[in-house]
């Protein structure tokens, strides 16, 4: 793979020549996007029960406001926010509440969930669209976003209304639409940009309405030239909107990396994007904002990519949140070969699941089914101190050293070498020629150190 590194250098200098924005470090994994890229978004209607984990966002779990036996309609609120940093949950089908019980979620935990028996009728509540968004006050907009249960749908699940309420709104200069979609295999955002660009732009305009001094920037990796072209065409008469082509490199869509690429400003783990005058939202989130404010619709569906070499017909599906993953695989034609590994999310940061019987949530952007688990076939060998992880780390850390400190439980050294700055992107494990589980060790240690700090 040294050829590959050389290729890297060429690409990087090429990228700079072409005026593409980027960050330092990063890796170029096999993209795999060709599998599902050309499959238009198809709607999937759920057949079985739907499961809504009460904790599918960062912050306090939502509290149920329905009881077993209640009948609910699609679009009806079934759980309300459990605090300011929390988000309500809506039914995505009509039917009957079957149970409120712990269910297994994608990350492997058992989470208290509302289970709804789908009556198959999809009877929907009446939504009240807003004819003139510009007449709304900032508070009204944020209230609508909060009430609709919009959270960061790129994967983190941070409640969007909190993000949109910074301490000093006047200092926000950039609203960055994270259209990088840097995770290999994923094409959901790509399809959204091609098929729903107007919703995306309208959603961005709603956010801009909150921040008078801000510009809206769509940061798109240059492996999606059709999206760049399409959005450029649509924003050409919009003085406050801009498309920013980015170099195709993982993790270009990492929040800190994206902010740096677009604005040249860098933030650390103690800072929020707002400290750099930025707010970053993912494509799906911005479309959810549009649905919430303009159409009055809560978050009940989203697009996910069902892909991988084990899937018969990889594609992009608009599904009702709460649908079982198994139904989405079925929609993609089922398995062509028995997969060894199934991953909720992308191959770099996604969660491997031991079973398919798991509900989708607001943050389920992809299911990747791989016929072979290449990681299991590789045995870690001794670190030869080659420094490839140092070159790859987008946070400019020394992953091999941090992993060693982590394995030895040396928390002081770990902090001294800035271990808490790790963004858990996995570039170090990816690039390691000795196939060491660097990211895994670092992530574990980071959790321990942060937990110890909270205790203090």
């Amino acid at each position: 793979m040294a050829f590959y590194m050389e290729y890297n250098t060429i690409r990087e200098s090429g990228a700079q020549k072409m005026g593409l924005k980027t960050f330092k470090g990063g890796v170029h994994p096999y993209e795999g996007k060709e599998l599902a890229k050309d499959a238009p978004i198809t709607e999937v209607l759920p057949k079985g029960d739907l499961v809504y984990p009460l904790s599918q966002h960062i912050g306090a779990p939502a509290s149920p406001i329905v009881a077993k036996g209640d009948t609910v309609l699609k679009g009806q609120k079934i759980a309300e926010a459990g605090g300011f940093v929390s988000s309500p949950i809506y039914a995505s089908v009509s039917g009957t509440v079957k149970a409120i019980e712990p269910r297994r979620v994608a990350v492997g935990d058992m989470v208290n969930s509302i289970v709804i028996e789908n009556d198959g009728a999809f009877t929907e509540v009446e939504y009240t669209p807003c004819d003139d968004v510009t007449s709304l006050s900032n508070e009204e907009i944020i209230e609508k976003i909060k009430e609709a249960g919009v959270v960061g749908m790129g994967g983190a699940g941070f409640p969007t209304h909190v993000k949109l309420s910074p301490k000093e709104p006047d200092k926000i200069e950039y609203i960055i639409a994270n259209c990088a979609e840097c995770e290999p295999y994923l094409t959901a955002d790509y399809r959204r940009m091609l098929e729903n660009p107007n919703e995306l732009i309208e959603g961005m305009k709603i956010i801009l309405q909150l921040f008078d001094g801000a510009k809206g920037i769509f940061g798109i990796e240059n492996n999606k030239p059709d999206c760049i072209e399409k959005l450029q065409e649509l924003v050409k008469d919009e003085p406050r909107l801009e498309v920013c082509p980015l170099e195709t490199k993982y993790p270009q869509g990492g929040e800190r990396q994206l902010i740096y690429a677009v604005t040249g400003r860098s933030i650390n783990s103690k800072m929020l994007p707002a400290d750099a005058g930025c707010i970053v939202d993912n494509v799906e989130t911005i479309i959810a904002i549009y649905n919430a404010v303009k159409l009055g619709k809560p978050v009940t569906n989203r697009v996910a990519t069902i892909t991988g070499d084990a899937v018969e017909k990889p594609g992009n599906f608009l599904y009702n949140i709460g649908t079982n993953y198994a139904e989405l695989v079925e929609a993609a034609g089922g398995f062509k070969v028995q997969p060894e590994k199934i991953i909720s999310g992308g191959p770099m940061m996604g969660f491997a699941m031991f079973g398919l019987d798991v509900p989708t949530t607001k943050t389920s952007s992809s299911l990747l089914c791989l016929s072979t688990d290449e990681v299991a076939a590789m045995e870690p060998t001794a670190c030869i101190n080659c420094g490839r992880c140092v070159e790859a780390c987008p946070e400019q850390l020394v992953p091999s050293r941090l992993a060693k400190f982590a394995d030895h439980g040396a928390s002081e050294e770990f902090e001294k070498w800035h271990g808490l700055e790790c963004v858990e992107c996995g570039s170090c494990s990816f690039i390691c020629p000795a196939k060491r589980q660097l990211a895994q060790s670092i992530k574990t240690m980071k959790k321990q150190v942060l937990a110890a700090k909270r205790k203090k």
Binding site: P184, K270, P347, M353, F354, E374, V375, H418, K453
Partner: protein, 316 residues
């Protein structure tokens, strides 16, 4: 749901790079100088190279057997050590001394400290210095059928004139792999293009050495002298193939530059003020010993970390 799928921590994909592949690139990069050495010094050089590599690989295999460790000869690192050691030996060295050198490099310098990745000193250079002390006469006997004179560096010390063109091409006395600057540079360029090494260590090493020799070499701005110093001895081989050894050089980018500077200064000191005309091997292994302290003071600044801020408190 009877079948369980594999579960592991992300990421779920890996690059194709492996340790063995990196070592293979180093071996390929050493081929020009190896072939030139064989051409220059004849079949004795070839035999010595093969014997040294065999000794290194066998030592590692036997050691792994004795201590019940997983066999690690497949990573090719022992081959690289053997080849580098051989290139640092005079072609006339008795074969059994070369075997001993291989055993020392692998068993004493590498395996006893925990094997690949754990040694604090470059095994090939450690063994070379061991042989230099143990068999001083054999190790400094550069007289062959082709060359009856001293090495260019020794000749310069005695005030004799040297032919820098011969030194660039490698038609001089010396160890098997050190004579041809051009052959070494071809290999070095290959390694740089393949992304195996970069210029931080060799660059700072050579620049520092040149500055040092300009200041203290006693010849001022005499470019013939500087060129001869650069091409002579083990400097080129050392700067591109030994100082850049991953295991025994710092991992921090600033540390690598500092390490190169250390190597440059020490080489200059040994060559100008030492008893011997040579100094590269000792300069590098002494710098190897400084690596932990260099790393300690060159922890890179994390992305977004404010300059001057020593320690991150963490958390939002």
């Amino acid at each position: 749901m009877s079948d369980l799928y594999h579960v592991s921590s992300s990421p779920h994909v890996r690059s194709k790079d492996t340790t063995a592949r990196i070592m293979l690139y180093v071996i390929l990069a050493l081929l020009p100088t190896t072939l030139f050495g064989i051409y220059n010094f004849g079949y004795r050089a070839l035999i010595l190279i093969l014997v040294t590599i065999a000794s290194c690989v066998a030592s590692e295999w036997i050691f792994d057997r004795i201590v019940h460790k997983k066999n690690t000869i497949g990573d090719l690192s022992a081959v690289v050590t053997g080849l580098l050691l051989a290139l640092n030996l005079p072609a006339t060295l008795p074969w059994w001394e070369a075997v001993l050198g291989g055993v020392f490099a692998i068993i004493i310098v590498k395996c006893l400290f925990g094997g690949l990745g754990q040694n604090f000193m470059n095994p090939a250079l450690g063994a070379r210095c061991f042989l230099l002390i143990a068999f001083a006469a054999d190790m400094t006997n550069f007289v062959t059928d082709t060359y009856t004179g001293a090495t260019p560096l020794a000749a310069m010390r005695n005030g004799e004139a040297v032919n820098t063109m011969d030194m660039l091409i490698g038609r001089t006395a010396g160890t098997i792999g050190e004579t041809s600057a051009i052959a070494i540079l071809i290999g070095a360029i290959f390694l740089i293009l393949m992304g195996v090494i970069d210029l931080k260590i060799p660059g700072s090493y050579i620049v520092t050495f040149v500055i040092f020799m300009l200041l203290f070499g006693g010849h001022g701005f005499d470019w013939t002298y500087i060129t001869a110093q650069l091409c002579g001895g083990g400097l080129m081989l050392g700067a591109f193939f030994m100082a850049t050894d991953y295991v025994t050089s710092p991992i921090t980018p600033r540390g690598q530059i500092l390490f190169g500077i250390c190597c440059g200064i020490l080489t200059g000191v040994f060559r100008c003020f030492g008893a011997n005309a040579e100094g590269v091997s000792f300069a590098i292994i002494l710098s190897n010993l400084l690596v932990p302290i260099i790393e300690k003071y060159t922890v890179p600044r994390a992305f977004g970390q404010i300059r001057g801020e020593k320690k991150q408190e963490g958390g939002k």
